[in-house]
Symmetry: D3
Subunit: 278 residues, 6 copies
């Protein structure tokens, strides 16, 4: 094995909650087991590890592959997918249920298989469920397309963050369409206050997603006007697989998170154990 | 004014979010403005100040006056409603919108009135909106009716916490009905894992609510079975004002919160400023 | 000895720095030695322990007994001057110099006397130096005379906090003069944005100071206009010992601190050891 | 039930580790399970919750009932043994092993009994094992018998803290012997740098121990010289049950902890979850 | 854009306060707005972000370009001036006043221009005011000229840190003069306890300052003896623009900060929001 | 000097306590003086700095060079032994006693020599004492030989970590013996639950130790069975210098630490000053 390089990376994990029956159980697993185990594993080479609760899915959110639990964000100093970094004294505890609650393993999958961290992060896709999403990005947005002067004094933001996977054979023209047609169309809409985008660093973990975009609005009504009504004017590409914008398969090729500005828990700095209400 | 007494109190504020358009704005006001202002005001005599995000409203939740934003919980060392404690060097910043978002002031109320903390906490009720709910309880539950051996190793809990206000003229028989009919009926249901209850300490702030109950379930399906299906067998009292259980006016006489075990933010110990996602 | 009572108290220690030669040395003693020793001693019954750096003395500040180092503020749950609380396993380290730097012991006092905490807090007065100032107040201001609606959104404040000791034999008429003539005169000045006052709880430690007042301004120019220019119209009482307002002996009978809003260090929550710049 | 009173108390729990086979397991239970569960239960009315690792047992330590794991110290605002405070939403997780490791239940006790917190704290005594020790003290030492001027600048201390239970029928003359013969004898020994003592507040939980004493030394050699060699001159009382000083039954009537000055973990302020070494 | 490299850098921002009327306002802007905004922006790639309050300007301090507010210090993992790092989702809030208070924009400059972070950090210089100072240094001092054995046990230090810009055309001989004449002269003075120096990394942001020096003294009297009295013996170079040492234009070519050892706020670790005094 | 490179390193310092007379004194020096001084020195380029108390030495531990105080662990971003990093504004305070307590300087060494940090870290070896041990490792274990699926849910671990130095002239065959005979033999023992190993990065500081191994057991009895009883079957190599396994000179060529999973103090995140028990 070689020397460890400094390779700053930001990763985004989209965590779904496929039934309300599971939300409090998934939260318990995340905060009781997973946060301290994760920090023990990577604290010396991670600089930020934060959870952002998903806002409730807006109308028509299904069409956009809306994830309903949270965004898990890391800033890494070294590539956590390198061969060296996979040697850890303690593995993460991933009960099969934790993947069912997130929807990357079918609800009726037989017990008997205990997914560890690596298995969990490669679940979905081949079993009829959408693949586990962990997308690596540069630590800075690559392109700043609208609203660069915005400050916190301009008020809170309703953030729509999405990942798109172009169909096989259309990775290049798909991305050209996104950058030359889709994003400029949104940039012209007055309800959109901010647009930033980066390509996914697929070389890190062969993520199926190709590009990440973040757009900000005043609230869900403005989002609906833009993403549902006005986006109808964005022409359907030849390679489209769905009738409606964004024209790709929800949850498999397009995943959305609706977020407020603030992290729910900046774990490295705020976590102090799992302390239930009395 | 007299000497300040030690009077340990727990208070519960039920925070609603009346439209999804408001959720991220209400969160911003709560964390950006209200948390640091509140801590500056009461940190020397408050021992816990926590926010618990409301779980999404389950089916039939409207019937039970479900609040959709959060529970705000304080543990006080001195009575914060005493005359002495109302003298503060800095008042809290309460824009009118913050009360509209919570639903104690009508959405179309004309601007021109800036509610301060005291005004905010007495809003609602006379304007067609449900009154602001701040209920004081003893710091320990008064009655432990079911499940007292439960530990964290028994798994996560789906907590249903509710407050009830009996109709005028029925404060005594209403409470007798609750304690002798309603709670024993729930205690018999196998889906209910835990029941605790206390009377509201109305002498502190003349809160309109009379009693607080917390019941735990495995999840919303069990709750539905109990509170919607099985509760049909609980006889409708004479003084009932609604057809269905709980037989009192939703949001005005009955308010529910569905909660997971863990606080979203234990503010006195975890707050470190409002730091938005990059 | 009796049972310990809950007796919430706020105490104010006015810390001077009598020469610039001493400022960094006094800071070193305060943060290196005194903060951790103090927290070890009283952390279980103190709820706030904060330092507020003094703003530089404004012109004519000498006339008002301006203290030049900091305000040390405690919120106590029990009376720290009770007989019981004086038994501590470890005493505080008070080198004689620490009292010389603060000006309660003459600069040329011979070495050979090591003041402990109790000795330090009773130094001054009989040796030509102003007495050490530790004034106990109720935890809430007793009277709120102007500006009670002010919030943090109204902007930062230039706070003038002072303590006054009326001459012997004039404790009552002195205080009547303060409350009936001085404070109303200031309340009428438009530059004064806030006035709050409390009597010193002299029964706790026989403090020589009688009353504490806090007035807020936009800045030192407004303070000067009020306290130096406009205050000339406040009639000199019979018992006055100085020609100019406030008519009592600077530093011995009148002590001022000019403060910004924010603590420099909220020690119980922010202290993490003495870590010098590299 | 009545109103909750402010009743400041310090409690000392002596935790033994009866075999080295158990030390890391007991530590795991304490930090992984017990600390967060305890904080969740009492954080609003406890002001300090600290663990102090026991120093290794010195030669002849068996004679003095030396405990080998840690001191657990709480500072309470309310009496945790009151009837009201025993109602808690979640019970503490106490596997039977945790009591065997501490030695209040025999190592070969049959499984099948799950001790909860209250059961754990009343274990021992009737089963051939020494009783669980939880002794309540006033928050301040009642008597300061030697070394009251000592500061942290005098250097680190080797602390011998012990609890003694006088034989039945000799509670009064036993304590007179302690205060009039034993403690004065130690106070005269030059190796003893500090002596403080308080009576145990037996009214809180009927603790079998009667008095707590803390004496400081430079190190274990000085302790041995005093407690083993010089203490031979302390006359054996009539009611003695052992041949050697301290003349009472080790671990049952006399329990010692050897401690350094610093807490190993000040849990309320330092705990941030159980994060194992990578 | 290229890959982000690891480039450890320390930066020093010298913050002045040009009138006492502004000190509390500048402090409010720094702590209320700027600290949380800055941390949100760079927390994942900054390892230290600290404020050090300036000690009061000593006599003759004007001659040495003394800054009167604070030193702002960052340790960076990546170059914050790289093109990539300038893309940020939220810009910093820099009211024009914040630059006037610091003196890089004239006090009477017309309103109507809102400086953002980048504009603020390039203000001054062309408008008659001294340029904004942000100097990048290696994370370790390059040269250790005196006092390398000094420890914290040697007592507190009065630190004089200065930056010098040699006149155009004299960058090389200016620096030779500093290193071969000035610093050796100071190294010989017994009052100087410590000297360290580094060249400014001008390639990062084209800072006008060329070299940073830190010298330590016991206090301002010793500094005065050295920098004012003894420095008279340092020959005036040909390219001097002033009569007195340091022979360059105060505040434009020479800037000083007088500092104690300890940071006032180590923001990444100690900031917990803006909580004013009650 | 050159540019600072990112070079992630983990270092292990084995701290002994050679007499019980010294334990509390060594702890005092470590926590009172050394932790804050160290953090001040390296906080900007260290990501973890933790202390792990040594478990008591098991029977036969002398044969394995058991260290009795603690493991000090750092994770570095830059090589702390580079020439550049040796320039520090403040040196560490290392009284000669601190090295005697750890056993790298003879107990009867004459006073008069004050070791600084660099001197301390090169003490021992030439004076009859074992050399100070600071071994640098890659941040990830290089080889994972047994138990890679283990999680925290598998229960607490009794960790045996050791460093071995092969005799001169046998560095290669010694290591081959370790990897091909010793570790496989342990891997076959059912009591061993986990084995990981890395070569020491001797190029950093020329450490005398060659390899680090960590093996986990259920407790000391299992360790004894493996390392004392079963290891007798491991053939004695030609170059052996001792009769018993591990066949090299205890403390000079073989050093062991017995550890539980959890750090005693994760200093960068948990240290808040030295606060003694009241």
């Amino acid at each position: 094995m070689g020397e460890i390089q400094y390779q700053p990376l930001r990763s985004l994990i989209y965590v779904d909650c496929v039934k309300e029956e599971y939300r409090h159980k998934l939260q318990h697993w995340l905060y009781y087991y997973h946060v301290p185990e994760s920090m023990a594993k990577f604290e010396p080479w991670v600089t930020k590890y934060a959870f952002y609760n998903a806002l409730p899915m807006p109308p028509k959110g299904e069409q956009f592959g809306t994830y309903r639990m949270q965004l898990t964000e890391h800033y890494w100093m070294v590539n956590p997918m390198s061969e060296e970094s996979l040697v850890n004294s303690l593995n993460e505890y991933f009960p099969l249920d934790a993947m069912k609650w997130q929807g990357t393993i079918p609800d009726d999958d037989a017990e008997g298989f205990m997914a560890d961290g690596e298995a969990a992060r490669s679940s979905g896709g081949g079993n009829g469920c959408p693949p586990f999403i962990m997308a690596f990005l540069p630590i800075f947005w690559e392109e700043d397309l609208k609203g660069k002067g915005r400050t916190m004094q301009d008020g809170p933001n309703y953030r729509w963050q999405f990942l798109i996977s172009y169909p096989d054979g259309h990775k290049e023209d798909g991305d050209a369409w996104m950058r030359e047609e889709v994003l400029p169309a949104f940039a012209k809409m007055p309800q959109v206050t901010r647009i930033m985008t980066s390509k996914v660093k697929k070389e890190i973990n062969n993520c199926h997603m190709d590009r990440c975009v973040e757009m900000w609005f005043d609230g869900p009504a403005d989002w609906y006007e833009c993403a549902v009504n006005l986006a109808k004017d964005i022409a359907r590409p030849d390679w489209a697989v769905e009738e409606e914008f964004p024209y790709v398969k929800s949850r498999f090729q397009f995943a959305s998170l609706f977020l407020a500005d603030m992290p729910t828990s900046d774990n490295l700095r705020q976590y102090r154990g799992y302390l239930p209400m009395r």
